[in-house]
Symmetry: C2
Subunit: 223 residues, 2 copies
DNA sequence: CAACAAATGTGTACGCCGTCCACAATTCAC
DNA sequence: GTGAATTGTGGACGGCGTACACATTTGTTG
């Protein structure tokens, strides 16, 4: 529709700045995903609306169907990205553990770090966090690298790893190791939900943080 | 539109069997709410669609706006009903506690009962449970009786009561009483979510039940 | 390089949804 | 009984997800 002479051969896809001049977009899938992520970031899963994503990518609604089977498929992709970010946040917390501690103390610190990283992400990115867990299906045996952090492990695997370290270090009795990830995850996940959608919503972080610390302590003590 | 002579004076609203013959419905609000509850029961919050509720009530879509400000308002009403049912389930569990126990043991049993009742409802009525917590805002200082059970207390208040009993019975150190409802609720709520939408979804109840028991035990020990 | 197939974006259209407005039937209050 | 308030109707609008046919570009193969 443009009267420009198609210029040079623009085969190189521009990753950002999506206003395209060629008929082809270059990397529409990425553009749609990015738009979806931003929508989810600021409005949660329901804000991921297909038509809006295509609008932001400068493309007609149906173009999305060349890259995603349907809206839910796009949401799943956003979800995977959110889980990956979550894993990265947890890894960052893990990396901050004092390496001079003995194995048992390090393992306990790792458990706390996974929990606190989880909570940090929920507080920092509520929209994406809710998107990560609003839809059904959550990763467990799922080795999809799109859901993992830089270290290649997804959030659930990071937690399992921390518990394994505790068990081998003797900080967690073996007979309590089995299924412990479900108990620990329950507490932390529920706490995040209480903050985002529940009776703790809107509380200043100054009051949230100590409660979160108490929660992690409760898990460690009660496990 | 019917050629019937309007029959007798049908001022008495029929609570169920909504096919009406008069211009007025009798109790449309109730009919819409009932329809909304059924929709939520079988499909969660997103399944509560205004037009479908009016369809089931045998009425034109706009009629709903005489009784609910908008869709969200209807969902809120469904939500209140779900919370009330949840409270009732928890009360039922509480009522089953052996009264011959001493105060401390009864208080501990009450804490477990609130948690297990909560989980029972989540497992039995996943759609309504998710509706109760999917939308924002949750009852805490909220004395709305529509959200309470037969005993007049909402789920959060039931939990608080159980913790109070533990504290006065000496089963919970006073310095740990403050905020304990958040810790306990976190664990149980998160566990419910893991079962409904998370990695524990679809697990047979035979495997869920012992895990739930362990969870409640963890809370009691770690609180 | 020509020709054809595959990939990718466009245009049009359908049905569903929430919601707004004006209007009609009914009931209530005086 | 009459006028006002309540409650249901009819029609319309814009937004959404998505299906189908079509156009344009790109990649392949002779």
């Amino acid at each position: 529709m443009q009267d420009e002479p198609a210029a040079s051969k623009p085969t190189a896809p521009r990753k950002k700045n999506y206003p395209r001049k060629t008929y082809r977009h270059g990397d529409l899938r990425r553009a749609l995903l990015d738009a979806g992520i931003e929508l989810a970031r600021s409005g949660g899963p329901d804000a991921v609306v297909l038509r809006e994503a295509t609008r932001q990518a400068g493309v007609v609604p149906n173009a999305a169907y060349r890259h995603f089977a349907n809206r839910q498929d796009l949401v799943e992709a956003v979800r995977a990205a959110a889980l990956s970010e979550l894993a990265a946040t947890m890894e960052a917390e893990l990396a901050a553990i004092d390496p001079s501690l003995d194995a048992g103390a390090q393992a306990c610190a790792a458990l706390r770090a996974t929990g606190l990283g989880y909570l940090r992400y929920a507080l920092t990115q509520p929209g994406l966090f809710r998107t990560a867990f609003a839809t059904h299906e959550t990763p467990v045996g799922d080795a999809n690298p799109a859901k993992a952090g830089p270290g290649g492990l997804n959030p659930f695997q990071l937690l399992s790893q921390a518990l394994d370290r505790m068990a081998t270090a003797g900080a967690l009795p073996m007979e309590r190791r089995l299924g412990a990830e479900f108990l620990a995850w329950s507490a932390v996940h529920g706490f995040a939900m209480l903050i985002l959608d529940g009776p703790l919503r809107g509380f200043p972080e100054a009051q949230i943080a100590p409660l979160g610390a108490r929660l992690v302590e409760m898990v460690q003590k009660g496990l």
